[in-house]
């Protein structure tokens, strides 16, 4: 980028504007490309549907905790479109409210992962050497355990409950983000625009926040979408073993857990929460893949 080098040599404030140029370029026609990416559209539709249902839950659903012991295990019908569970609760309402739990978990857990993982990766990648070694060995340590197992350990130390489950899943997702951000940082800090920013005396802070972070964020967004799917699955697993949302709070994993003994007699108890988990995680994965294609300038030509 010879032009940016020349400009930044004359005016320091212009450095930032020109250095973020790759980002704004990459975003040109973003929506145009997204519209032509079918995978992403399907993903958005799946996730959007559940997000909308979760938002509108108080309007479209009944009380998900109201027992009706005389009407238990009813098959799907017009009054209860997804049937009723072993305590006579409306399964549809529980799926809708369970969606709130799942999306909440996805957001909070991925939020924790981002808030801690991204700075760790930036610092480790940028400063390198001992800081890098130390933080990345800690991340390796965290990653050495299977994610679900680690989440179970953390959740059982913290005690069962939704908040603790979210924290546990968040902690588990930190290393992934940290590694990814570190990789991005290592790559970007050797680019011309960073070197030139450094040459004109930009501070480390300025370089990290204005150059490396904005340019490295695309894969992080993709990873966040995919991690959300993972978080929903992990929450379902935790609820399945009794460490997630406490009854009577509906959660998809918890519903699967109470439903699976009825597989032979009342399959709708496990079918619908199972489908909800499958569709949402599939949607998030599609969304993630689609975002990668859309955000990655190297792949742009394939879609134009």
């Amino acid at each position: 980028m010879p032009s940016s080098t020349r400009e930044s040599a004359t005016n320091k404030t212009d450095v930032a504007a020109s250095a973020v140029a790759p980002v704004s370029q990459a975003r040109t026609g973003l929506w145009h490309r997204a519209r032509r990416n079918h995978q992403m559209l399907i993903g958005m539709a799946c996730v959007g549907t559940f997000a909308l249902l979760a938002l509108l839950a108080p309007v479209i659903a009944k009380d998900p905790t109201a027992l009706d012991l005389m009407n238990d295990l009813l098959p799907p019908s017009t009054s209860a479109p997804f049937g009723t569970d072993e305590l006579g609760r409306d399964q549809f309402s529980r799926i809708v409210y369970g969606g709130r739990v799942s999306l909440q978990v996805a957001m909070l857990a991925v939020g924790i992962g981002l808030v801690f993982g991204v700075p760790v990766g930036l610092i480790a990648g940028f400063y390198g050497e001992r800081i890098d070694n130390l933080t990345m060995r800690i991340m390796d340590g965290l990653q050495a355990f299977p994610a679900v197992l680690l989440a179970i350990v953390i959740a059982s130390v913290l005690g069962s409950g939704l908040t603790n489950a979210m924290i546990a899943i968040g902690i588990v997702s930190i290393p992934g983000f940290a590694r990814l951000m570190r990789g991005q940082t290592l790559q970007i800090k050797e680019t011309d625009y960073v070197l030139s920013a450094r040459a004109v005396g930009a501070s480390n802070r300025h370089i990290i926040l204005r150059h490396i972070l904005p340019n490295g964020v695309a894969p992080i967004i993709v990873a966040a979408a995919v991690s959300s799917a993972g978080a929903i699955l992990t929450e379902a697993s935790l609820s399945f073993v009794g460490l997630g949302a406490r009854p009577p709070t509906p959660s998809w994993g918890g519903m699967l857990q109470t439903g699976y003994p009825y597989l032979g007699t009342a399959i709708w108890l496990s079918l619908f929460p199972g489908l909800a988990i499958a569709v949402t995680t599939l949607g998030l994965n599609f969304l993630g893949d689609g975002l990668r294609d859309v955000l990655d300038p190297k792949l742009r030509r394939g879609y134009n």
Binding site: T65, A66, L67, L69, M70, D72, E86, L87, G88, S160, G242, R246, P247, P248, T258, Y260, P261, Y262, L263, G264, T265
Partner: protein
């Protein structure tokens, strides 16, 4: 017309005869081969019959490995086993047991009067782990009169004595106990139809036939018919059911009421109806706030609707019970019953200083039915402003909190649990009220209540005994250390190829005469 009738009768007669002949051909002599595997709800905890006996599998293993002095059947009758007969003195204080001769333990030593005395002394030793010691305090001394005669002297008249003994008198080899010491629970040596091959805690127990067993089978040879038995415990109802269907297990201690149609529709499986039932119970830590206040316990009791709860849990086969007694027992107490009264519950809460409601922790063992009950209790109590936070725990964690009472453990406020009803004799439920007793989960110490239990032990008059227990039931409905929700009959299942399983009162199996029909 009459000709037709005669023809019809002749044909019918011929049919009956031929089917009878087929039946005789089928009920062949038992075959001497095969292994039977059984699965219970709870894992085996010990092979030492004088230690804990919390699960049915424990009892099944004891019945396979050991002989009892006397035994009680599902009808509540006391049967001879090692004791061929017994005499009771006129004052009811001296029991003389005449023992079967020629019985030896798996280690070759003789099962004689000394071994019986050793076992009874071990059972009643208050310093030991024996879960039954508290119910045998009436024994003053055990005397060996000769090699085949043992005399038990009581310090006071004890009506349930024989039935208590019959429930738990598996005779251990004194030599083996001395040899293994604390490890005896892994190295059981009895005189039963099967002997131990291996057992690892948490895994299955493998037993093989005792070639020198004393009982004789229908073919004139010593029992048992089976080559071996494998027993294991799995808490998950679905896993047990699936493994029964796949043929992994032949006997399943317990199926849930909702699975009965599944079993009945499978020609390889049969449903076993037992005399046992499971009682579902809510309890409190009465030694600590908040539930040291009787008004709060009564508020919970008044807020529950046991009929609806038990109907949902049992799919209609259960019934409300004010106490864990079997419905048709002579000691069943019909009145008083719990009364659903949400206004009273709110009023009691307000009086106790919680007009805005009460928050408590409710713990249960993480099992399907317990979890279901917890949520129903939660919803019912929420109606009157008692908000419970449910904690589903592993069995051992739950027992850690509640055995011998929860004390100051902050998680031990309120709990739900299952327990067997008491077939045979009401005294089986005394342990819930025994001061300092291991399963006095509520830590409930009421001298009057305990006094009535002791009264019931010191009279032989059945009506008086029943009255004593009825008084206890009334006291505890007024004080609610336990809120008994109801009983659900225990239903087991078996593969049809397994023949002649004798059920025990605890819904376990006696496998001495069991055989496998693979024809």
């Amino acid at each position: 017309m009459s000709f037709r009738k005669a023809l019809f009768m002749t044909v019918l007669f011929a049919l009956v005869l031929s089917s009878a002949a087929v039946a005789i051909a089928q009920s062949d002599m038992p075959q001497r081969r095969g292994t039977v595997s059984g699965v219970c709800v709870a894992a085996i905890t010990s092979l030492d019959p004088q230690s804990t006996q919390l699960g049915v599998c424990d009892a099944v293993v004891y019945d396979a490995l050991y002989n009892q002095l006397i035994r009680v059947n599902t009808a509540g009758e006391i049967l001879p086993e090692i004791a061929e007969s017994w005499d009771v003195s006129d004052d009811g204080l001296t029991y003389t047991f005449h023992l079967r001769s020629g019985v030896s333990f798996h280690d070759g030593t003789a099962l004689d009067a000394e071994a019986v005395k050793f076992t009874i002394d071990r059972m009643r030793d208050p310093e030991s782990e024996s879960y039954i010691a508290g119910r045998l305090t009436a024994i003053e001394a055990v005397n060996v009169l000769d090699e085949a005669t043992v005399e038990v002297v009581l310090n006071s008249f004890n009506a349930p004595f024989l039935s208590t003994l019959a429930g738990a008198s598996a005779i251990v080899s004194p030599t083996a106990v001395a040899e293994y010491g604390d490890d005896y629970r892994f190295n059981a040596v009895g005189s039963g139809p099967f002997k131990l091959v291996s057992w690892t805690p948490g895994e299955e127990a493998v037993l093989e036939r005792n070639e020198n067993y004393w009982e004789i089978g229908a073919d004139g040879e010593p029992l048992p018919y089976l080559d071996g038995v494998v027993l294991t415990g799995i808490e998950d109802n679905t896993v047990r059911l699936l493994n029964l269907q796949s043929g992994e297990f032949d006997l399943n201690e317990r199926i849930l009421p909702r699975d009965v149609p599944t079993i009945e529709s499978d020609p390889d499986l049969s449903v076993i109806e037992t005399v046992n039932a499971t009682a579902y119970t809510v309890t409190f830590n009465v030694s600590q706030p908040p539930f040291d206040d009787v008004r709060l316990r009564l508020a919970v009791q008044a807020a529950l609707q046991p009929d609806a709860l038990i109907e949902n849990l049992s799919r209609g086969i259960g019934y409300y019970a004010n106490f864990p007694f079997p419905l048709d027992a002579w000691y069943w107490v019909d009145e008083p019953r719990q009364v659903y009264d949400p206004d009273l519950a709110r009023q009691l809460l307000a009086e106790a200083g919680y007009p805005d409601g009460l928050d408590v922790i409710y713990t249960h063992i993480n099992r399907t039915v317990d979890a279901q009950m917890a949520q129903i209790v939660q919803a019912m109590l929420a109606q009157v402003g008692i908000r419970i936070e449910i904690q589903a725990l592993e069995r051992t964690s739950w027992l850690d909190i509640w055995l011998v009472g929860a004390g100051e453990n902050t998680e031990g406020q309120m709990a739900g649990f299952q327990n067997g009803v008491s077939p045979g004799d009401p005294d089986g439920k005394a342990m819930f009220f025994q001061p300092g007793g291991i399963v006095n989960f509520a830590d409930y110490n009421n001298e009057v209540a305990w006094g009535r239990i002791e009264d019931s032990r010191t009279t032989l008059d059945q009506a008086e005994r029943a009255q004593a227990w009825a008084d206890l039931v009334a006291i505890q409905l007024e004080e609610a250390p336990y809120v008994w929700v109801g009983n659900i009959p225990v239903i087991g299942a078996t593969r049809t190829r397994v023949q002649d399983v004798t059920l025990t009162p605890s819904s376990g199996w006696l496998l001495t005469r069991t055989w496998v029909n693979d024809a």
